[in-house]
Structure formats: structure tokens, C-alpha cells
Amino acid sequence: MKVQNPKIKSQKFKLVKKILFLGLVLSFLPIFTFSAILYLEPKEETHKLGDHFAVKIRIDPEGECINTIAVDLSFPKNILLVEGINLGDSIINIWVEKPSSLDIKKINEEGKIYFAGGIPGGFCGRIPGDPGLTNIVAEIRFFIPSMIVGEVQEQEAEIKLLETSQVFLNDGRGTQATMNLKSSKIKITPERGGEINEWRQELLEDTIPPESFEIQIQKDPAIFDGKYFMVFYTTDKETGVDYYMVKEGERDWKVAKSPYLLENQNLDEEIKVKAVDRAGNETIATYYPKFKKTEKPNLTKNPINKKIIIISASIGLILILIFTLIFFIKKRRKF
């Protein structure tokens, strides 16, 4: 009978034990790892020079409920140009930071886009029966300039979701969810394309202004040194709200963000807030002052007022004199 060396036997057993332990650890991994998937759609696509295309940023919370999403995205600025950002279909309602069309130049210079916002009450994934996939965070519209036509080689542009992107669970503790990021690769063939610009088409078709909204005038000792400020916010289901503009009284319109510290702290002027969507449609909300700014009467310029005051003053003086005389006469009679 063949007798195995006990040393070899023990080493073999240790190896088997290690393998089993590793298997055990690996088996537990899928049980305890839940991660939200932040992904770009399409994953891969081929385009020609001069083409316009869209990349959707989507999220799959994988059965968890999330409430805050911050997207940090990069793209090769020497190959691609951002034309626009569509937030009309976004699941995000409250924005902490969102790029407007006014930021497009800066975005193309940097090759980066950042936005962050949240869903009050959270987002737990698609509801059964929902006709849409309903998980869009944003849609980025790109353009491939045809200026690089001289380059005969095929190129690849990677639109990347950066590790600095964040997703938070709707757990009341601000727990950051583990994430699985999936980027998009765009293959560019050295041919002249120039597909229809769908983004321009969408902007032309969007004739619906942002939803109506109200201006809230607030005062809180905690902020702006207790001065009056206003809060405003609305949504646009087509191309998304691009930016807001504010007009106080007769002052000029200016681009503003909520919360906005009011220049006129007397609240005696009309205040207008204009929400402008990506297609340029506008909705204006107006705050009407409770008491209107009353002009101080100009005495020098109004002869009627001048006369009235002189007459009133004269009557007053005469009355005072009469009463003084009566008083003295009565006093003398007593003595």
C-alpha cells in the first residue's frame, strides 16, 4: 500500500482550505454588494465627421432608493463639442448645480460637465407598468466638428463618467452608494456625415414654456443678515429650464439664481422672475408689492399744493390767535 508523506498531505490540505476560504469569501460578495449603476447610453456608437448625436446619462439604483446624484463627466474636447444639455426628462427635481446654455463655452474649453441635484423622497427605480424607462439624469447633445477632416485615421472618443461622481441613498443619513460607472465609446470614421441636428429640431419643436410658478419672499435671521430674499423654482418637461432672470422695479433684467438677495429691501416695487427653457420659451412670475411706492409730493412744482398749504397754515395761525385771545379775556373777567 502506498503511504503518502504526511508533510505533503498537510500542505495539500492547507491549499484546499485556502481555495475553499476564497470561494467562501467570493460567494458572499454578490450577497452584500449593492451598487447603483450610473451609465451612458449608447455604450458604443459609430459616427461620421459633422454628425450630431445624443448621450443619455441614466441610473439604475438596483433595488435601492437613492435621492442625490452628482455627475462628473469628461469628453475629449479636441474631438467633440457639447451643443446642449437636455434636462426635460430628468428624474432630478431640485438642482444644486446645473449647467445652463450660458456655460456651454466653458464646458467645451474644459471638456468637463458637472451637475448635481436630488429627488425629494428618493427614486427607487422603474415602477411596473411605467411606459417609459424613467431613469434619465440628463441628456448631453454632442457635435463632431468636420474641421478635423484632414485626419484620415479612425478615432475613438471616450465620454467618461468620472470616479468623482456620487450617488447617495435615501436613508436620512447621507450614505454614499457604491457605484458602477459605465462610460460610452464613440467611434469616428474619417468620412463626412452631417446627420440631421435633432437637438436643433427639438428646440424648434419645443413651444411650451416652463410651468407656472410663484415667487416666495422670505426673511430669515440665519441668512443674508436677516434681509429679504426670494426663492423661485419651476420645471420644464420638454427641454428643461435653462436659467432664470430677475427684474426689480425699473431695473434691468439680470441672470439670477435662487435664493436671490433683493436689492430693494422695502418691498415696494414689482418683482419679476423669468424662467427660460433651453428653447428660449419664457414663463414670468410676478410679485406685486402690498403697498406701492408712493411718490413724495413735490411742493415746489405743484402750485395748487403750495396754495393749500399756505391757506391751511394761515387758518391754523388765525385759530390759535383767536383761542389765545378768548383765553386771556376770560382770565381778566375772573379777576
Binding site: S27, N93, N170, V231
Partner: protein
Amino acid sequence: MNTKRILYPFFFLVFSFAFLFPNIVLTQKIVPTIVGISVCGDGSIDGFEVCDGDNFGGKTCATYGYNRGSLLCLENCTRISTENCYTEPGGMGAGAGAGGGGYVGGSMTPPASTTLIILGMGYPDSEVKILKDGKEIARVRTDSKGNFSWQTTDITPGVNSLGFWADDKFGLKSILYTLTFEIMPNAITTIKGAYLPPTIGVEKNVVKKGETLKFFGQAIPEAKVLVYVSSSEEIIQETSSKKMGEWELLFNTSPLTEETMHTVKSQYKTIVEGATVVSGFSKFVTFYVGKRALAGTCPGADLNQDGKVNLTDFSILLYYWGSNNPCADQNQDGKVNLVDFSIMMYYWTG
């Protein structure tokens, strides 16, 4: 030795199975509330619909024993009517062809405008606040059984977030329960099963170890309420809600670690139309086991302390963004950032 030889491969097989089929192992995960959407007017029978437009799922008047006429799709695609079906002597006979030589399918007047219908359950005789995209748009009262329904045509098609919350009879606020979905234009979108998670409160915020602590709240009537207490190992206890939905649980704090903050949350289980419905979790509330009392500044993200968490609080948060303002810095990590914003989204009331 022999035992080991048998046990190791056994464990390996078991865990490999878990690795290969994680979904089976994951069955312990809580199933959320059964909520569904149906779009009446899109021509496809989905959710709880029985018909949609001309689509009767293959049914005709012949299915119901008539040989002529057309079916009608009524009550937001939830009822098929044979009102327009009839039998004609000498007709092709029931069950023959497509409705006995009459009309195939039926007809339904297309809805004039985009409509949204919500059918849900809250706490009996309470007021449910309805939020759209974070802003309160309506209030609706529940009946004595906790049912509520709400309908509007003042809604823009597209992706919408509808949120629901209510104050219970104890003055406790429920969690904001939000559903995000797409509303189709010129169709009736019905959401069925918007069940508000239960409310929860604690009798005392600080208790001595071993002391009995009362947890209470309101849920839908006569449901099984599960209470989850955080500890080194989560403790789950059960109670039932009464006719008006009130529930309470007396909890012995002996197993809990001393001088530690603990959290408790609840959810309910019930059977609706033969299906088990498990609600989402309530808000979580905290209590301290020990002698030291901890007081948080601006708890529940109500930064201006007006009893609501809305755009004003969000404005205050943005004002202090990046600073170390103790009120806005909800998690007390020394910086007002996305973590604090996430906490605000959790407590949002609109």
C-alpha cells in the same frame, strides 16, 4: 478528518450556488409596496387594465354569448361592457367568427386631455399632501379605511415625480413617498397602490438600559407592523395596527448597547386583493440608551424651524454651502455639502 472531507465540499457547493444564483439568496430583501401604473388610451392592456381602446385581449361579443355588436371599454380601461352587444336571430351564432359577423373589438371615446389618477392608502381620516416635482399641489382626505383617490388633468406629460406624505393622529409626519414615472399625453395614467409607509415615534429620546420604551405610530388599519431596532444585530419585533391604524410596541432595551444612539424604523405587511403588500420603511427615529442626552442642531433638515422642509430650507442650505454652519451641516462633519443635501431630500415635505 472524514467529516472535514465531507463538510468542506458541502460548504463550497452551497456558497458557489450563492455566487452563481445571488437572486435566490437575496430573497430576504424586502419587497417594496406593490405599486403599478397603467396607461388607458395607449392601446395596450397593461397593469390592472382589462381592455384599452379597441384592444379587448381577443375578446369579442361572441365571447359573452352574443352574435352581433361591439364591446365597450369603460371605467378607465378596468371594465368591459356588453351594453352594445346583442343577439340577432339567424346571426352567425355565439362563438362564431369575430363577434358573430358584427364588429370586432369595440370602441372607446379617446380621453380629451392628459389625466392622472392616483389610488392609494394612508392613515384613516387623515389628510394626504400631494407633491409634484417637490412642490405641494393638492391635499386629499382619506376615508375611514385609509383609502384615498385623486385625479387631475392639470399635469404636463413627461417625466413627473409625485410625492405623498401625511400627518398622523399623533402629529407625526410620515416619510415622503415618491413615485417617478412618465405621463403619456392624451391618455389616462392610473397609479394604483400608492401606500404610505407607517409613521413612527418614540415615547422618550433617552432611556436607561433595561427600561421599556414605547414605539408608536399609525399605519393602514389592521395590518401587521414590523419594527426594526438597530443594534449589533438588528432586532425585529411585530405588532398589529388597530381599526384606526394606530399601533404601539413596548420594547425592552436590555439587549441594546449602553451609551449609544440607536435607530428604529417600521413598515407594515397586509393582504390586499389576495396579494401580500409590504410597505416601504417609515422614517427612522433615534433614541439614546444611557445617561447622556444628545441634542442635534436643526434636526430633520428643517433649517428655519418652521415645521416644513422645502425650498426655503434648501435656500438656506445653499447659502451655507461649503461652510461649517452647524445647522445646515446635518451630519456634523464640518462641511455643508451633498451629504447634507441628501439628508434634506429624505426629510422633504414641500
